[in-house]
């Protein structure tokens, strides 16, 4: 059993449960599209929107009603709003924390790192750990992104593979950024609780910062929900390059700390 296989073996239960949870949630969300349409009360929604004076200035109620009906009958809107934009990215956030927080911290907490450090180089340990855990996260992202295309084969709707792949790529890059943050905490702290707490704080802070006017670009969740792909049918290339560079920068910083750390 190599170092990489052992790391994957360590992730087997957590990874399998998260993958199963993703597929199960995806199946229920996506295969119940027809049912969703029947329970969505357009009249009630329209009545609620009438209370928004801003909307009333832009659209008359009839147009709003018509556009709402179009949206509800559009599977793409349903997939982007209910699956990619809601359940999947939240499951990925959960997966990033669960698959990553104990990566280095548990070895330190349980003193098993002496065994690793005396038999393998720090570079080998670092690489095998981050490759294994990100592979686990990537697998869940890939499954969740492709799922609408697969489920469409068994139902009366179509979903573009190209869009699914674009979303998968954007979600992977955005997740790599959050993943690098959790890796950093897992290396920095010597127990398994602090990386979880610190990661949750950062995840919440990133969401809050994105709500500040003029700082929307900092909202990583905007990219994770893929809302821009839905409207423009293209990836946010510049943002993805910046996020990728930031993620690699944090990972390199984590490596630097791990390389010089006293255990």
């Amino acid at each position: 059993m190599s170092l990489l296989i052992k790391e994957l073996w360590d992730l087997r239960w957590r990874g399998t449960i998260l993958l199963f949870l993703t597929l199960l949630t995806g199946y229920f969300v996506l295969s119940n599209y027809e049912w969703f349409k029947t329970v969505a009360d357009i009249a009630q929604i329209t009545q609620g929107l009438k209370q928004a004076p801003f909307l009333n200035q832009l659209l008359d109620m009839e147009t709003l009603n018509q556009q709402l009906l179009e949206l509800f009958n559009n599977i793409d809107f349903y997939v982007w709003s209910q699956w990619f934009g809601k359940n999947l990215y939240q499951l990925i956030l959960l997966a990033i924390i669960i698959l990553t927080f104990p990566l280095f911290a548990r070895e330190t907490e349980q003193n098993t790192n002496y065994f690793l450090l005396s038999n393998r180089t720090r570079k080998q340990i670092f690489l095998s750990k981050i490759l294994a855990s990100f592979f686990g996260i990537f697998l869940i992202i890939a499954a969740g992104s492709i799922l609408p295309v697969v489920i469409a084969l068994f139902h009366d709707f179509n979903f573009s593979l190209e869009q699914a792949l674009m979303y998968g790529l954007q979600l992977s890059i955005s997740s790599l950024f959050l993943y690098s943050v959790v890796v950093f905490f897992s290396i920095t702290f010597n127990d398994v609780i602090k990386p979880v707490i610190a990661s949750v704080i950062v995840f919440v802070a990133l969401g809050l910062m994105g709500k500040i006017s003029g700082m929307l670009y900092l909202n990583i969740y905007r990219y994770m929900t893929g809302v821009d792909i839905f409207f423009t049918s293209s990836i946010q290339t510049t943002a993805m390059i910046v996020i990728l560079i930031l993620a690699l920068f944090i990972l390199m910083g984590s490596w630097h700390i791990f390389k010089n750390k006293d255990f």
Binding site: L116, N119, T121
Partner: protein
């Protein structure tokens, strides 16, 4: 040829007043080197510095011709048994050995089987259910079932019953007969005396004694003196290494070979220089403080 050379080494820790300082230490290749000292003396720190598990503040360490951080060149040459013998709790003994065979460089399956007969552990048993002694036995298999030139063992017999302790010492001697270098720390003065060629004693991060065991024994002697006898000897007559004053008697560890002892006896007939063992040296140096390098 030296297996390990240390010069002007210094290591301190955050949030701790402890500092390990070793001016000069060289270990002959092929020898068994014992490291003695009370808890917190710096034995584990020194071994961890050799293994690059912790990094020095300053100083020079050379191990088998390389610096400790050159792990790629050293990982197949050094086998390490840490003080803390924790392994993966969720693995069984069999799974752990399977994993070890994949990641330990120079793993020898035949040797592992041979060692499993010496340290009989149930393969299906989870590591979380093993006692400290059983974990030490498992670690012994992981440590010795491989080819290495240097074996660094941090308290290898701790937690073992006397039979297993004997097996462990036998393994250490076997490796030494094969020309391997062994460094081991222990609180068991008897096993150190029985096994080592050279030794060092650490106290509060400083090396208070270092040398070949036989040389140390022949160069040091012990005097047990009453108060009146002690006052009868001019202080400059003795080359005192350490003293320990009890209620009615003083124990004095002195430096000097056979000639010095004979001369002392000729000058002061009431003196009876006694041979020392490691226990005497250790207790006197550790209780008294000893000279620090």
């Amino acid at each position: 040829m030296y297996a390990v050379q240390i010069k002007e080494l210094c290591k301190s820790y955050k949030n701790s007043s402890f500092t390990l300082q070793i001016t000069d230490l060289s270990l002959e290749a092929g020898s068994i080197f014992g490291l003695l000292g009370p808890n917190g003396a710096g034995k584990t720190s020194l071994l961890q510095l050799l293994m690059d598990i912790v990094r020095p503040d300053r100083g020079y360490i050379e191990i088998l011709g390389h610096r400790p951080f050159e792990r790629e060149k050293l990982q197949a040459k050094i086998s390490y048994m840490p003080e803390n013998k924790n392994l993966y709790h969720n693995m069984t003994v069999k799974k752990m050995l399977d994993y070890a065979s994949g990641i330990i460089p120079g793993w020898d399956n035949d040797k592992a089987l041979e060692l499993k007969n010496i340290f009989p552990l149930e393969g299906k048993k989870r590591i979380s259910t093993l006692s400290y002694g059983e974990r030490t036995q498992l670690y012994a298999i992981l440590t010795f079932a491989r080819s290495a030139e240097l074996f660094i063992l941090d308290e290898p017999t701790r937690g073992l019953d006397p039979i297993m302790q004997e097996q462990m010492l036998q393994l250490i001697k076997e490796k030494s007969w094969q020309g391997k270098t062994i460094i081991f720390s222990s609180h068991q003065l008897g096993e150190i005396e029985e096994s080592v060629d050279t030794l060092a004693m650490l106290r509060k991060g400083h090396m208070v004694l270092n040398g070949n065991l036989d040389d140390l024994k022949s160069e040091l002697f012990l005097l047990k003196l009453g108060k009146s006898e002690l006052s009868a000897i001019p202080p400059s007559t003795l080359d005192i290494v350490a003293t320990h004053h009890q209620h009615k008697q003083s124990l004095i560890l002195c430096q000097g070979g056979m000639e010095s002892r004979q001369k002392l006896q000729a000058d002061f007939a009431f003196l009876n220089p006694e041979n020392v063992n490691i226990k005497d040296i250790f207790l006197l140096l550790m209780e008294n403080g000893g000279e620090e390098e």
